[in-house]
Amino acid sequence: MDQFIQQMVNGISLGSIYALIALGYTMVYGIIKLINFAHGDVYMIGAYIGFAATTYAQLGFFPALIISMASCAVLGMVIERVAYKPLRASTRIAVLITAIGMSLLLEYVMMFFVGAEVRSYPKLLSSETFHLGNVVINMQQIYIVATAIALMILLQFIVHKTKTGKAMRAVSIDQDAAQLMGIKVDNTISFTFAVGSAFAGAAGVLVGIYYNSIDPLMGIMPGLKAFIAAVFGGIGNIPGAMIGGVTIGIMETLVSGYGNSMYRDAVVFAFLIIILILKPSGLLGKNIREKV
């Protein structure tokens, strides 16, 4: 039983990170129907910005987190303006391919500047551990889960209680109608990218601190897993992304804890295929008929 609870603790910390990344996928998809494959790489760059802030500027956890989130927000907006906006009238496949190109560009530009070797964060949070019976919870896990929950509450507030949030929801339902109602569609899309990227940046810093190892290709796997989380929760659906992220995290942990660690990724990707066959709209997604 202790072991099971311990695995749950591990799974929830891992899942919170997936959830933070999945939110960006799902928000962007919700608003412009684009699967932004460069999102995992924004997360990687967030980790490097946090690394620079803590190592060279010697800042603490919260300043580093905020700097990384702010820089990623700007990066997200720039990516949207440079790569996706000019293609808004093109086919969706063209934008999707651009997103993949953007992802590779970010990875290898970073590799050019920072090198391919792994780097480690300085020690920012105490590695103090709490023992509940035989279950060990460390301070970093608490920070990860707490930061993730705080950011998700903030997001719910933005989306449901602010004017910008209302605009986001309006654009996601019908872009043209929103524009006719006087909503600045371009600004709203930019804002969505900014928020999603900021969350990815936060996830990057948390991972840097928790696992203490970052490299230019670190965004690929978590990016794909977060994508699965978003699909599982129902892509375009914000609470769905949170539930999806935590579910994928727990699933991975249970597979490698009780099954065979080599099957972990295979199980997660098989899960994606099963969802797409059985319930393509995801757990919380609605079945909307395409207008012809």
Binding site: Q3, V136, Y211
Partner: protein, 397 residues
């Protein structure tokens, strides 16, 4: 039409000029190669000076050049100065192959040193066999495909200066059994490399033959970051040691996460642990009771080692690691073989390399075995608070 013709003419002129320029370069190179009494001997240095495994390549190259400088300062080999021809293969095996070809066919080298990693070194083997020029690596530890080909025949022109992976697996198993009195071991293996597989197989065979049992055998792939679930499940088991056949990037994280979860058992590994990054990833507090096999220990009190460490510090202003030491030995080793060969002839150098007896180096003394692997001892290094605190020599059986 006229425009097209003009363009065609222009391109032809450029092409012809290019050909002439090429010829000029070639004849120059040829001129350098000739001469009656050689006053210098060229040795190719084909290393990973940039890219993924640049730390290994740079370290080997620094060690080799240090050895060459010492030899040249003392009058050279048989009166000839050693001229290193240094090239960077960017940690890519295709590049390693083409640079080896260039060194052997255009630079007239008598032997090529490097690359550092097994994969890149193997890429130069066909070139060496074709041109009948020896290649030697100080650090390619792969079991298969290096000094012997797929059917087990010895590659005549291929040598190495280090023990292989299976020997490290055997060493760590006997160390666990004899020095740590372990009877139950857990293996957490890098399943994505031959290195991890070779180590795990040999550890298991030796440990079980000595009466031990492998309680659990878990796997991971390179670039994994989360090992908590694996570690949580083995924590519930009864075991004495954890063996981690893999590289420092993941081993550092495994050690950190294991210690965070309260697993205090000794953690063992092989030369893949030897990097300053291990300390950065795992942190000082976690690196206690960690042991790994290596080629050399800076704690060694052999006068030869002490002299090397002092010389290295004076030259490069930093502490040498195992790759520096291996590179240094490699430089001395090839010079020794050329001296014994008595001629600047790849064939004679190859025979001299193969018949090496009692070579004394910083990483241990050895005879060259019949399969072109040296017969030498390994060192097991123990870490305490992240620093090397103990070293035990384990001789080959």
């Amino acid at each position: 039409m006229n425009k097209k013709r003009a363009l065609f003419l222009f391109l032809t002129v450029i092409l012809v000029m290019g050909l002439f320029a090429g010829c000029g370069g070639d004849s120059d190179n040829g001129g350098n190669g000739g001469g009656e009494a050689p006053t210098e001997v060229k040795i190719g240095i084909n290393y990973e000076l940039s890219g993924e495994v640049a730390t290994y390549g740079q370290a080997c190259k620094d060690g080799i050049l240090m050895a060459f400088d010492e030899i040249n300062a003392a009058g050279g080999v048989n009166g000839m100065q050693i001229v290193p021809v240094v090239v960077d293969n960017k940690s890519e095996s295709a590049e390693a192959t083409s640079l080896a070809t260039k060194l052997m066919t255009q630079e007239d080298v008598v032997a090529c040193l490097g690359p550092a990693t097994s994969g890149n070194f193997m890429a130069t083997i066909p070139v060496a066999m074709q041109n009948s020029i020896p290649v030697i690596s100080a650090s390619a530890t792969a079991d298969k495909g290096v000094t012997t080909d797929a059917s087990g025949n010895v590659n005549e022109y291929v040598f190495r200066l280090c023990f292989n992976d299976s020997f490290q697996g055997v060493t760590m198993a006997s160390f666990a059994k004899n020095n740590l009195n372990a009877t139950k071991a857990v293996i957490i293996q890098d399943k994505s490399s031959d290195y991890g597989q070779g180590l795990a197989d040999n550890f298991t065979a030796t440990f079980e033959a000595a009466g031990g049992t492998i309680v659990a055998h878990e796997g991971y792939v390179a670039k994994d970051k989360d090992f908590n679930s694996i570690l949580t499940s083995i924590k519930a088991k009864d075991f004495d040691v954890i063996f981690v056949p893999g590289y420092y990037q993941e081993a550092g994280l495994i050690i950190k996460q294991a210690r965070d979860l309260g697993i205090d058992a000794p953690i063992l590994g092989a030369d893949g642990f030897d990097s300053p990054v291990l300390l950065e990833l795992a942190g000082e507090e976690a690196l206690n009771d960690v042991y790994f096999s290596n080629h050399y220990s800076s704690l060694d009190e052999d006068p030869l080692v002490l002299e090397f460490i002092d010389g290295f510090k004076a030259k490069y202003n930093s502490d040498p690691n195992a790759f520096h030491a291996l590179g240094y030995d490699l430089g001395k080793f090839i010079a020794d073989a050329i001296e014994r060969a008595g001629a600047v002839d790849p064939e004679a150098v190859k025979d001299a390399l193969a018949s090496t007896k009692g070579f004394v180096g910083v990483t241990g003394s050895f005879d060259m075995g019949e399969d072109h692997n040296p017969i030498k001892a390994a060192v097991v290094i123990g870490l305490e608070n992240g620093a090397q605190a103990s070293s035990v020599k384990v001789d080959p059986q």
